[in-house]
Amino acid sequence: MTALIEVKNLTIQFRTDEGLVTAVDDVSFSLNKGEVMGLVGESGSGKSVTAKALMHLNARNAVYGANSRIILHSENGPVEVLKLKTARELKIVRGGAISMIFQEPMASFAPAITIGDQMVEQLMLHSDMGKAKAKALSVEMLDRVGISDPAKRFGQYAFELSGGMRQRAMIAMALSTKPKLLIADEPTTALDVTIQAQVIDLMKDLVSEFHMGIVFITHDLGVIAQTADKVSVMYLGRLIEEGPVREVIRNPKHPYTQGLLAALPKLENLDAPLTPVAGDIPSPLERPTGCVFHTRCPKVVGDQCKTRLPEHVQVDSTHRVACHIHTAEVPA
């Protein structure tokens, strides 16, 4: 087991006109080489902010906690990501060891520069490749992700490509620098189901081929079940449950994870009623005290939920959960 990236006590707040807003609160996890981690949560759960922190990519008004650490284990030894400052230092993680693909492939390409020029530009920035070599590699990568006629596509603009093809080109670009870690932020959400299935297959193939780590951010538990090795569930900036994908989906321990799974429409049983998670996610400006989920939790076990933050409890060696039901040894 070789850890690729370790996140320790990550806390991120944003300075806003209404005061400091907490987006991520004391989150710790680690990811090994060749491992796919699914990061699940609703909008506002802090999953994208966490992922951006891995590349130190959050906006300038972000404030990191004093004891927050992100350690990337690269070939040249460990790198403290949050201590990187200058643009030159940050290049080690941004586009170097770590690449990112975003949800909306149209918005991630510059509209007035050809796909090829964008791929070549980033290769020349991140490696000592010459232009001709960078072009050859780019065309090869476009071919690898299943784009037909890659030499022609290389000279086209983003608007000339369909949604699925744009997302493939994005993946080709992200992988051409041979990153150790790929962050995929809702990469299939904007795609149609048939195209989503193709992109998921492609990503699975690429993991086994390149042996990189992937952080896969999504709110779709079906996509997680199909791609991830392990899952972390976030709610209002807290990591509330973590474990191997089979464990978390078949045997969820946190009432929120259970609620998410119950809210999903299931094709096997069309008569099953859809049970929403009651209430709405609270505004980050009005963070609940105690367990952040207690305002919507159907299983509140007493005052402790409202007053005390639940500690993480190991359900077994790989599955942990932060809920008072499990700390109090009350049967779930």
């Binding site: 538990l221 989906i249 429409p265 998670v277």
Partner: protein, 335 residues
């Protein structure tokens, strides 16, 4: 006599595009569609982007011009021919047919209070005479959509996605419509909230006897909410059946592929899906013959030349495919 609310035959919607060297060309977004929506039903329309599902929904609302075929609306009080509807009758139809949009963040004016957003249709259509009457109606509808009455004075930015979508629903309901087109109305919501909004829509359908046309690309969502499903591909209706029939035994290869592309929640059930190659062709450059033949795993020569018509085999399960009988027999033989 019949209890069909919306009936369309050969409905087409074309848009003029470009003015190239060879003059204008026509993009057929909806092409020769037959559809019957029963009164009080929850009718689902599924398909990928570019399939024409949104355009069909808008055509039935008279929000885009119908360029071919016929369409009629009949709710027991009025009968309208949607192809010629105009003037005061069109105004009346606007009260009877409403739309709920996809994105609750874009659909609500940030500078109007929730009360004013819900009241606007009443004022524009002159449905209420006094402010008191308007307020009473707004409150009644807001309560039905489970909106906190104290929130009516607030602005949309104070609300979460689920709450905003409930405001959009209240606005659509306030004029007392008989027919609502819900276009991807839960697509922008988190799963935990999605279920809540779906349950609300179903409750409205049952209690207020409103007919819904529910447009979605998410098959597991339509499976749970709709009574009847129609599948569109590149402007054509390729299959139409009661939801359970369709899920139990889809007849069109496209519908089958759509079902198998839904990611399974079972981590041990990976990669079993029958994958569809390629993407939906551009509507400006449609293939000849069956529109699906470029991606169909069962394509034969005939599919490349003749376009299949929507068949009505008499069991309420309509399909447009040359080979559906043969494929159904083969499936039965292997089962």
């Amino acid at each position: 006599m019949s209890d069909t609310l919306i009936k369309a035959r050969g409905l087409s919607v074309g848009f003029k595009i470009g003015s190239g060297l060879f003059g204008k060309s026509i993009l057929k977004a909806v092409d020769n569609v037959d559809i019957d929506i029963e009164k009080g039903s929850f009718f689902g329309l599924v398909g990928e982007s570019g399939s024409g599902k949104t355009t069909l929904g808008r055509a039935l609302l008279k929000a885009v011009p119908i360029t071919g075929g016929t369409a009629s609306y009949s709710d027991g009080e009025v009968d309208y021919d949607l192809t010629t509807l105009a003037g005061p009758e069109l105004k009346d139809y606007r009260k009877r047919a409403q739309l709920i949009f996809q994105d609750p963040y874009a659909a609500l004016s940030p500078r109007m209070t929730v009360r004013d957003i819900i009241a606007e249709p009443l004022e524009v259509m002159g449905l209420t005479k006094t402010r008191e009457e308007t307020d009473a109606r707004v409150r009644e509808i807001a309560a039905k959509c489970r909106l906190n009455l104290e929130h009516l004075r607030r602005f949309p930015h104070a609300f979460s996605g689920g709450q905003r979508q409930r405001i959009s629903i209240a606005r659509a309901l306030v004029s007392g419509p008989r027919f609502i087109v819900a276009d991807e109305s839960v697509a922008a919501l988190d799963v935990s909230i999605q279920a809540d909004v779906l349950n609300l829509l179903k409750k409205i359908q049952r209690e207020m006897k409103i007919t819904f046309l529910f447009i979605s690309h998410d098959l597991s969502v339509v499976a749970h909410t709709c009574d009847h499903l129609a599948v569109m591909y590149l402007g054509r209706l390729v299959e139409s059946a009661p939801t359970r029939t369709l899920f139990a035994a889809p007849r069109h290869p496209y519908t089958k592929a759509l079902f198998s592309a839904i990611p399974s929640l079972d981590p041990d059930d990976r990669g079993r899906a029958q994958k569809l190659e390629g993407e939906i062709p551009s509507p400006t450059n449609q293939p000849p013959g069956c529109k699906f033949h470029t991606r169909c795993p069962y394509v034969i020569d005939r599919c490349r030349k003749d376009e299949p018509k929507l068949e009505h085999p008499g069991d309420g399960h309509e399909v447009a495919c040359h080979r559906w009988r043969e494929l159904a027999d083969a499936a039965r033989a292997t089962a």
